[in-house]
């Protein structure tokens, strides 16, 4: 049986699709994870761009850990939602675009986290130019991910 169809017809896929609780629970978790990941990431990206100078660079990674919890919630709830209509989603351009932006956002966040760990002690008042470019790109990626995510329902 086709792998995507087997996801849709699995006990879990059927539960998310048909139970009273499954779908509303998954989309609520997905909204919470999104708010946590995007909200914290954007605030911290703004810090790297120079806003809120009182927050030490060393503190940013601790909050990024919270953001990753949001990301994990969305990875799990997103997988659950995907299972409902796997065949449809893999052919949906808006969904694929969203996944691209989410992946770019996550990779950028991970890279920034590594740079903060290794080098931020030497940064002084403003972060290096390359870091600032990545922080700006991160804001663009997460915003685009959220916009395309919302538009999936409208651009079938």
């Amino acid at each position: 049986m086709n792998f995507l169809t087997s996801l849709e017809e699995s006990a879990f896929g059927v539960w998310v699709s048909t139970s009273l609780v499954g779908y509303p629970l998954m989309i609520t978790l997905h909204a919470i994870g999104m708010a946590v990941m995007v909200g914290i990431s954007v605030a911290l990206d703004m810090r790297l761009l120079g806003w809120f100078p009182g927050i030490p660079y060393t503190a940013i990674n601790r909050f990024l850990a919270i953001a990753w919890i949001g990301f994990t919630i969305n990875l799990l709830s997103g997988t659950a939602l995907f299972c409902m209509q796997a065949t449809m989603y893999v052919q949906d351009g808006t969904f694929l675009l969203k996944m691209t932006f989410v992946l770019l956002g996550a990779v950028t966040a991970a890279f920034l986290q590594g740079a903060l760990n290794r080098n931020s002690a030497s940064w002084g008042a403003s972060a290096p130019g390359g870091i600032r470019v990545l922080a700006a790109a991160s804001i663009v990626f997460w915003t685009a991910g959220m916009v395309t995510g919302r538009l999936i329902a409208y651009l079938v």
Binding site: P24, I27, T28, A31, I32, M34, A35, V36, V38, G39, I40, S41, V42, A43, M46, W51, F52, P53, G54, I55, P56, A59, R62, F63, I66, W142, T143, M146, V147, R150, L151, Y154
Partner: protein, 163 residues
């Protein structure tokens, strides 16, 4: 009540929403962006209040307040867009009123923080423990705002009997 409803559906906002197919998705998109700004800033400030990362000066984290306010204002405006665009959809839905109640409670909690708690925090030294009242206000803020988020997401699935 009918006259308020009649007035709302005759406003220009209603015309914008009903007249163009992209108004509603645009309102939703900005509502989501606003909530991310609000939740992100609130989460960082409230976690610090509760005691997470207490090496960060409270004043530094407090600088995020404008971000939260901008997020809230964006959602107030887009929220009015939804409400005036399709008032009947919301006023009959108990989940909408619960959500608004939670926003109101979050506002009261914030005012209490601003007028009663923050002056005390400003008198704290860098190594003083955060007072219990500040931790309580921070925790309540998180409960209220995540409640707003949850009820907002569930609006189509609660009071209207299914979406």
């Amino acid at each position: 009540m009918d006259s308020v409803y009649d007035w709302m559906v005759q406003t220009p906002i209603n015309g914008l929403v009903m007249g163009y197919p992209w108004t509603w998705p645009a309102l939703e998109t900005f509502h989501f962006l606003g909530l991310c700004l609000l939740i992100g800033a609130v989460l960082i400030m409230d976690l610090r209040l509760i005691g997470f990362q207490s090496t960060i000066p409270l004043r530094a984290v407090h600088a995020l307040m404008p971000v939260a306010i901008v997020g809230f204002c964006v959602n107030l405006i887009t929220g009015l867009g939804f409400l005036f665009g399709d008032p009947h959809l919301y006023v009959i839905n108990y989940a909408f009123w619960v959500k608004m109640g939670l926003v109101f409670l979050a506002g009261i909690n914030f005012l209490f923080f601003y007028f009663k708690v923050e002056p005390r925090l400003e008198r704290l030294g860098p190594h003083d423990a955060t007072p219990m009242i500040a931790k309580t206000v921070g925790a309540l803020s998180l409960v209220f705002w995540f409640g707003v988020l949850a009820y907002g997401r569930l609006l189509p699935y609660l009071g209207t009997g299914g979406g």
